[in-house]
């Protein structure tokens, strides 16, 4: 396992998620694709933090944890995003009886 291999796997996951987010009709499917993209970004951050030397590493060994700290914050923000996003999905579903994005051009009744 090398850094390059890890980065390439994360890039493949990101692009699969991007395709899903752009090409699906169902809001919930788009959500799942966005979650895949979040995960691949976390993987990239942690892999870079694991293998690449930060400049400050010699002075402060804890700077090796920067990537993990960023991943923790991304996970927290993703949780908030899912809570709010699914709230919007349910509001949309209640108004239009559909979760099809091509029909959801407007959110008011």
């Amino acid at each position: 396992m090398t850094l390059q291999a890890m980065l390439i796997v994360a890039a493949i996951l990101f692009c699969i998620g991007l395709y899903g987010a752009l090409a699906r009709r169902n809001v919930i499917a788009v959500f799942m694709s966005i979650e895949i993209m979040f995960n691949s970004v976390n993987l990239t951050l942690v892999a870079l933090g694991r293998y690449v030397a930060p400049h400050a590493l010699a002075a402060d060994i804890e700077s090796a944890l920067t990537g993990q700290v960023f991943a923790v914050f991304i996970i927290a923000v993703a949780a908030a995003e899912v809570a709010l996003g699914l709230g919007i999905v349910f509001a949309l579903y209640r108004n239009t009886e559909s979760v099809d994005l091509t029909e959801a051009a407007q959110m008011r009744r």
């Binding site: 169902n26 694709s33 091509t102």
Partner: protein, 172 residues
């Protein structure tokens, strides 16, 4: 070393296959279950990258909370067995994704990465594996961001409740 490599490639195949399943399978419920597989594979990657705490958080929050929320959302909406249809943007979306993938792979392969010197590898692995360093950083250097995220989560929870609160009944 060999075991690590085998695990890595196995996890890669599982993660990419399940992710493809999520975006291509028709049945939305199966897509949600495949998404759990992706989350668990990513947790495995975190263990390989000596980020044990993140692996546990990944299982708890993604494979636990977020996946359950998504399954709920799938079950509360209709057209589940054939719900995951593509829209008209399929071909352009695939082209954009493939182009981005080509650029990312080219950059990842061409960059001269400067890895952590071998003398420090052990030290770095020890710091990254334990959760004490992470906890210290979260309440010292990143305390402000930590508080901001707490407020964000509170705001998101209240916002979701406000969005879903029923409309007040109108007088007959």
């Amino acid at each position: 070393m060999l075991l690590v490599d085998i695990t890595f490639w196995g996890l890669s195949v599982v993660a990419i296959g399940a992710a493809l399943g999520v975006v291509l399978v028709r049945d939305l419920f199966r897509a949600a279950l495949l998404l759990v597989v992706v989350f668990l594979a990513v947790a495995g990657f975190f263990v390989l990258l000596s980020a044990q705490f993140l692996a546990v958080v990944q299982v708890l929050i993604y494979a636990g909370a977020i996946a359950i929320l998504l399954v709920f959302a799938v079950m509360l909406t209709k057209d589940v067995p054939h719900g995951n249809l593509p829209n008209r943007l399929q071909v352009p979306a695939a082209m954009v994704a493939a182009l981005l993938l080509a650029v990312l792979v080219a950059v990842a392969a061409a960059t001269q990465w400067q890895p952590v010197p071998l003398a420090q590898q052990e030290q770095v692995a020890v710091v990254q594996t334990g959760s004490a360093g992470l906890a210290n950083l979260l309440v010292s250097d990143y305390a402000l961001a930590f508080e901001a995220v707490s407020v964000l989560l509170l705001g998101a929870a209240i916002g979701a409740l406000a969005l879903l609160r029923g409309r007040p009944e109108q007088a007959p």
